[in-house]
Structure formats: structure tokens, C-alpha cells
Amino acid sequence: MITLNVLKVGKVGIVSCSGEAIPEGTLSRLACRKVLDELRPDQTVTICLPLFIAGGTEERNFARDFPTITVDGCEKQCARKSTEKLSGKPGKSLLIPEILSRHGIAKPVNLRNLRPEEKATAQVVAEEIARAVDEILKK
């Protein structure tokens, strides 16, 4: 099914958890935007996560229409769980703390006005997401 979708639209849906209250949520958002705007602009689309509740059928079909990568800022995994429950099973689910620990990078501490090293971390996370996009598109 995922393959059919990819053939049809050639795009991967990115769903970030948004995480307003946790620095890793900010990191998730920034990294996802980097992928959408800079790293894979022609291969990715996104949706505001809470539209799965507030939107209509079109929004709720997002994870059925696109193979989807969820990106979560913490173990609560709001993006993965909400997408699974309200839209469709994600093609891949990424967790910021796991990415940081794989790269031996310290957790961010700021909710906004990220420091230069936190922005560098967003780039590392974005590159992981971009690799996941490539993997899905290769399938």
C-alpha cells in the first residue's frame, strides 16, 4: 500500500509532535521544518497534528494518503499515537531522545531562541529525518 501511495504522489508526510512545553518538541518542529523547507522540499508535505481532531475527512486521511513519518519530542509520543489512532499507521516513527543519544548529543534546554549548538542539533535531527524520507521513497 505504501508503495502504491509513493508511486501515486511521490511524497512523504511529516508529522511533528509540536511539543510547545518541552525543548525537544521545539527541536522536533525546527528539524521537521528544515526537512520541509530545505532538505527535501519536493518530497515532503506536512500537516498540523491537532487537525486530526479539529479538521475534516481530508485531514484525517493524511496518513492514508501519504506514507508518513512521525517525529516526537519525548516518550509520550503524541504524534505517533495520535496519527495511529486518528489517521493511519505511520511508515516510520522517530523519537528525538533516541536520535540525540545515538549521536551523543546533549538535550536542548531552551523552548525558544535556541542557542547555536541547539540549532546545530536541529540540523543533525533534520538529516536523520531526511534519510528516513529517502528510505521510504526507495521502498
Binding site: 510547545e20 521544518r33 497534528l49 491537532p50 489512532k85
Partner: protein, 139 residues
């Protein structure tokens, strides 16, 4: 019964693709960190989508203000889905309509005008926050 200061929960909408979503979030950070620290608190909106008990307790036990980035109204709809009436719901674009000299730009991160507008909006919301914080609390 006695009057004492309550927490006021201010929830932005989680917008990831729109400047007014970013403005909503920045306004909440201004309230939390500069204008009414210790009184204004927030939660990740997606926690409400997964019925997180702590997040539900927070919005059940305290007055809630929502700030939405577009007419989809994700923040207030996600709160109201849980049967909670928000004390005030705002649309971030109205902050701009009231201060046309500050046209916000940027999506992942707001530009200078956006940051200034968020600061002004937070100052203007302070009065409502104070009123809501002065609720009657059982002792």
C-alpha cells in the same frame, strides 16, 4: 473560601506551517517567561489528543485560554473535545489586525516584527490572565 492566585493555562495551537501558529506559540512563551511567570503555564496540545491524564487534570483544574493560528481553531477545539469550556479563545491574526505596523514573518522562527507583536499581545492578555488568576479557591 478565600481568594488566591490560581494558575492560568494558556495553550497555543501547535501550528507547524503557518506564521500565525508560530505567533500563537511565541505569545504564550512571552506570557510564561516575561509577563506572568509562575502564573501562566502551558502544556503540549497533542497531549490532549492522547488523553494524557496529567494534561487533562491541568485543564480541568484551571482556567484555560487558547490561542489559535488559523480559523481551524485546533487549540480550542481540542480543549472543548474534553468537555471543557475555554475562558477565552483568541486568533493570533487579530493581534496583527490590531497592530498593523507589526506584520509578522517567519514560520519555524518568527522574525523581529513577529517577536515584537508577540510581546505586545502578551502584555495585552495580562489583564485577562490576572482576572482569571484571582479565582476563588477552596481552602
Amino acid at each position: 473560601m478565600s481568594r488566591e492566585t490560581r494558575k492560568v493555562v494558556v495553550i497555543p495551537c501547535s501550528g507547524i506551517g503557518k506564521v500565525y501558529g508560530a505567533l500563537a506559540r511565541e505569545t504564550v512563551y512571552e506570557l510564561m517567561e516575561r509577563v506572568r511567570p509562575g502564573v501562566v503555564v502551558t502544556t503540549c496540545l497533542p497531549l490532549l489528543m492522547i488523553d494524557d491524564p496529567e494534561a487533562l487534570q491541568l485543564i480541568t483544574g484551571n482556567p484555560v485560554i487558547t490561542i489559535d493560528g488559523c480559523p481551524s481553531g485546533c487549540a480550542h477545539k481540542n480543549v472543548e473535545t474534553h468537555g471543557i469550556k475555554v475562558a477565552l479563545t483568541c486568533q493570533a491574526i487579530n493581534f496583527y489586525k490590531a497592530h498593523k505596523e507589526l506584520k509578522p514573518g517567519g514560520i519555524a522562527e518568527l522574525d523581529e516584527n513577529g517577536r515584537k507583536l508577540a510581546a505586545v499581545a502578551a502584555d495585552e492578555l495580562a489583564h485577562t490572565v490576572d482576572e482569571l488568576a484571582q479565582g476563588e479557591v477552596e481552602k
